[in-house]
């Protein structure tokens, strides 16, 4: 038998080791979305009390690039991203719509008064959170970039930081505007 054949098991182990090593660095929480490049799911959500808008529906996501943010007043990580959302609103780069997931309407309204309100429109998605499930949401916060035609182009899992906005999301928003 060829002497090189004895090295074959070693080569196989080496290839596997490379795959496993790459796998170690991957975050199992980042689940690829199947909804990328698909039309946003159909939904009509009621408004938060006292906010003055008419809620949020899929029709509101057509005509311009939007950021759809799925959050809840119960969600600690959402508080973390909130200042970034307020800064985005101030910059006027893109309108942000909120889906208040699994929330109590009164509590959701109070939370926005307490923390500031970066949203153009907000719809409340009551338990069992059908719209969030239609969006394939796995936790809050999650954000979707939706293009002019109402097609989901990007999904970001976790709180948006100023860096994420500047380096990842804003370039996508700008390229979609072209």
């Amino acid at each position: 038998m060829n002497r090189l054949a004895y090295l074959l098991p070693l080569a196989v182990i080496a290839v596997l080791a490379v795959f496993f090593f790459i796998g170690l660095g991957r975050d199992p929480k980042l689940i690829p979305s199947v909804l990328i490049d698909k039309q946003v799911p159909d939904f009509t959500l009621a408004a938060l009390p006292g906010r003055g808008d008419t809620g949020l529906s899929s029709a509101d996501l057509k005509g311009h690039v939007t950021l759809v943010d799925i959050y809840g007043s119960w969600c600690i990580a959402c508080e973390e991203e909130h200042p970034t959302l307020l800064a985005i609103k101030k910059s006027g780069d893109v309108p942000i719509h909120g889906i208040d997931w699994r929330d109590d309407p009164e509590q959701g309204a109070r939370w926005l008064i307490a923390h500031g309100d970066p949203y153009t429109r907000v719809g409340i998605d009551p338990v069992p959170g059908r719209t969030a499930i239609d969006f394939g949401v796995t936790g809050a916060p999650e954000s979707f970039i939706v293009d002019q035609n109402g097609v989901i182009r990007f999904k970001y899992i976790g709180p948006i930081t100023p860096e994420v906005w500047r380096d990842t999301l804003l370039p996508i928003v700008r390229s979609l505007r072209k």
Binding site: P28, K29, I31, P32, S33, V34, L35, R102, V127, P128, G129, R130, I133, D134, F135, G136, V137, T138, G139
Partner: protein, 153 residues
């Protein structure tokens, strides 16, 4: 032995305690409820990931349980319910990955490696059977003889 029995008892009890379905979520028809449970056991909880939605206490798992039961009550077949969830969360949500082109290596890989190993092992054993050692040359015969003599003395 007693300790072993105690451990087993605890494990069995712990297993049943891990059930997360609230009686109020259950469908009134036991047959439909059994179907919902069977479907739910195959769906991954997206929050805890190594549990099925039937086992998980996460809010999202509860919502999915409710929706699975709604769809079954509405007359969906088991595969329609699974498709409903997969169309939103992808194959990832299935605890048992489906057999398709992109998962061929996953399903058949171990079998192929096992077969290759068997082929390799049989060829090695055959070789071992066939090959007779070479006859000793003169030098080796003499050395063997001297060793045997030495042992005798």
């Amino acid at each position: 032995m007693k300790i072993l029995a105690a451990i087993l008892t605890i494990l069995v009890l712990a297993g049943s305690a891990a059930w997360a379905v609230d009686p109020s979520e259950m469908l009134p028809d036991p047959k439909a409820e059994a179907r919902a449970e069977a479907v739910g056991k195959g769906l991954r909880c997206l929050v805890c990931q190594s549990e099925s939605i039937e086992e998980s206490n996460a809010d999202l798992a509860r919502d999915l349980r409710v929706i699975v039961r709604e769809r079954i009550a509405a007359g969906d077949s088991d595969s329609q319910v699974v498709d409903y969830v997969v169309s939103r969360y992808g194959d990832y949500v299935l605890l048992k990955p489906p057999f398709k082109l992109s998962t061929v290596a996953l399903w058949l890989g171990p079998l192929v490696i096992l077969l290759l190993g068997l082929v390799w092992a049989t060829s090695m054993f055959k070789r071992a059977d066939r090959s007779e050692p070479d006859a000793l040359n003169d030098e080796e015969t003499n050395r063997l003889k001297s060793l045997v003599e030495k042992d005798k003395s």
